[in-house]
Amino acid sequence: MKPFRSVTGRVAVLDRPDVDTDQIIPKQFLKRVERTGYGEFAFFDWRYDESGAPRPDFELNRPEFADAKVLLAGRNFGCGSSREHAAWALQDYGFDVVVASSFGDIFRSNASKIGMVVVELPEHEVKALMEAVDLDKGSDVTVDLEVREIVAPDGRRVGFEFDETTRHRLLEGLDEIALTLQHEDAIRAYEAARAPA
């Protein structure tokens, strides 16, 4: 996992509540056995019409949001299916960070495992950030995990809470399985204590 400290880049707005992981990566792309290459299929059914042409009414197809690194999303983002393919797709599409007022629990966990930063802010803060985005020209933001702060397009600084353990792991880009295997003695002891006599 690549370490993540901060990112400055284009921000995209997807102001819809309850965006489920079926929309983020539709089921027809879950049959692949690879972990990479899902970006081109992200939001596939929303991005493209039946003929494969981009839908002009889908937010992420706006030229002002091209190459965005940060996604501002509606509440309960990533609800539904546990498919980690959703996080893989968003990351491969180019997003390093998703900001919303709440997230599906499994999506949040999945994102953190692959080095994507999921920032939860109060609803009014998310709306304020969305409103600060210039929809005609596009805007940039900075998300800094080291100091736990977002620099909004209007220069305003918005602090955020973040799980300290996850933050450390993301900042250092640590392999969680390797960390856990350092505790193998404890796992073995637990198993021994519970084994039927």
Partner: protein
């Protein structure tokens, strides 16, 4: 100190916990299927890691498998199933492969094999793992990175979730089902109402439900955002488990019972949230929109987004546009192209019996294609032994092989764009059953009744006129 059922299971499984840090939680049972596991096994191979406890891992094939006999023609689906077979062989994991007679939807076979037991921690790379909570197990869905973590370590790092008690009060009216109970509850609390929580379902209504119906309730915990849902195990759960293949036997069974009877929330134990929902006036539920919280009684009409507030209004408008519905349309005037009875929510023997009782001696309406897909090979055999297959076939239903089928459109069973389906599954998300497909979630009884009428009907009235 008084503890909740959840806290008892949690405490029992903590391997390691430092102040302020997540707990390292031991996993008793890891269920594996073809879609969310190949990348996890590949990760193990790349890092030169082994599966720590293959004996605590069980795999099945369900999402991709066709439900018609014959070879798998989709090369990608076949590759994924082949990968699962090869991975299970390489790492020594028991696989209930298609055609073995023991295959089925992962959340149907876990309980029927007796693998699912009270007090266990159960995970699977599938959000509907919450189903197993019906037995008083702590069961939740995980992503592929966590699947790999469990394979390698048999543990997971978890922050202690908040707790919620969802109590159903009142008496469930005749003709109403567990599906109606949970759909209406999701309508009340909203699709994100349970985020961050493990919920215990309680009340006389729950006590009165069969274990299979409790599974329906727990299955849909994730649809209102809950991390997991569980029910305190009781004689209903124990009776279901006794004698099953992996259930304890003899003296071990007696010891297990003693342990399991302790798995109740102690008097005076506190929950972070407590919600009471009265079911006395409940009517059969039908979803109208594109998430399970967009639900109304069958006696109602399609709601008007103009009467909604905030983000819900726009979401409501978008849902109506996708569903091809107009506000104010009576639910019973919505005509259907397809009916699907199946999925980990409603594909067990009781679901099939309930649907068959509605269907017996009648015919599927012209223009409607109706599908019954048993949740497992075993459920299918049992249904055939009881003659349910004949009832469905005689009525014009298709009788299929076990699998996830049309719940998620990863196999040949999909809706065509614009097709409208009454479905006993768990998600009415856009495109869930096929791109452009329109899903209405209902109980098996309501689905069966809709198949006969060609549109939604109030199943209570149907039963009233039955001979």
């Amino acid at each position: 100190m008084a503890r909740t059922l959840f806290e008892k299971i949690w405490d029992e499984h903590v391997v390691l916990e430092e102040p302020g840090e997540p707990a390292l939680l031991y996993v008793d049972l890891h269920l594996v299927h073809e879609v969310t596991s190949p990348q996890a096994f590949e990760g193990l191979r790349l890092a030169g890691r082994r599966v720590r406890r293959p004996d605590l891992s069980v795999a099945t094939m369900d999402h991709n498998v066709p439900t018609l006999p014959g070879p798998i023609t989709d090369p990608m689906a076949r590759a994924q199933l082949d990968a699962l077979r090869a991975n299970c062989e390489e790492f020594g994991i028991a696989l209930h492969a298609t055609g073995s007679g023991r295959e089925g939807i992962v959340h149907v076979i876990g309980p029927e094999l007796g693998l699912t037991q009270p007090g266990k921690t159960i995970v699977c790379g599938d959000s509907h793992t919450s189903t197993h909570g019906a037995f008083g197990a702590l069961a939740f869905g995980i992503g592929t990175s966590e699947v790999e973590h469990v394979l390698a370590t048999q543990t997971l790092w978890q922050r202690r979730p908040r707790t919620m008690l969802l109590e159903f009060a009142g008496e469930l009216p005749p003709g109403l089902t567990a599906k109606d109970v949970i759909l209406s509850a999701i309508g009340v609390v909203g699709v994100s109402g349970g985020v961050g929580h493990v919920v215990e379902y309680a009340g006389d209504v729950i006590r009165g439900l069969s274990i299979e119906n409790r599974m329906t309730i727990c299955n849909m915990s994730i649809e209102w955002g809950a991390r997991a849902g569980l029910v305190a195990p009781d004689d209903t759960a124990f009776a279901y488990l006794e004698g099953r293949e992996h259930a304890p036997r003899g003296a071990e069974w007696e010891r297990a019972l003693e342990r399991w009877r302790e798995l109740v929330t102690d008097e005076g134990a506190g929950f972070d949230r407590h919600i009471v929902i009265d079911v006395a006036e409940l009517a059969p539920q039908v979803t109208w929109g594109t998430n399970p919280g967009m639900v109304v009684p069958v006696t109602g009409v399609v709601p008007d987004p103009e009467e909604m507030t905030g983000d819900d209004r726009e979401a409501g408008e978008r849902a109506l546009a996708y569903m091809g519905l107009r506000a104010g349309t009576p639910i019973q005037e919505i005509r259907l192209d397809r009916v699907f009875i199946g999925s980990c929510t409603n594909s067990r023997i009781e679901d099939l019996r309930a649907a068959a009782a509605i269907v017996a001696g009648k015919r599927v309406a012209p223009g409607v294609t109706a599908l019954v897909v048993p949740g497992s090979a075993r459920v299918r055999r049992q249904a055939e032994d009881e003659g349910l297959d004949r009832i469905f076939l005689d009525a014009g239903f298709e009788w299929r092989l076990a699998g996830c089928s049309m719940c998620l459109g990863m196999n040949p069973d999909v809706l065509s764009p614009g097709e409208r389906c009454a479905s006993t599954s768990n998600r009415n998300f856009e495109g869930r059953q096929g791109r452009g497909g329109r899903t209405h979630l209902v109980s098996p009884q309501m689905a069966a009744a809709a198949a006969l009428a060609g549109h939604f009907v109030d199943v209570r009235e149907l039963e009233a006129v039955a001979p």
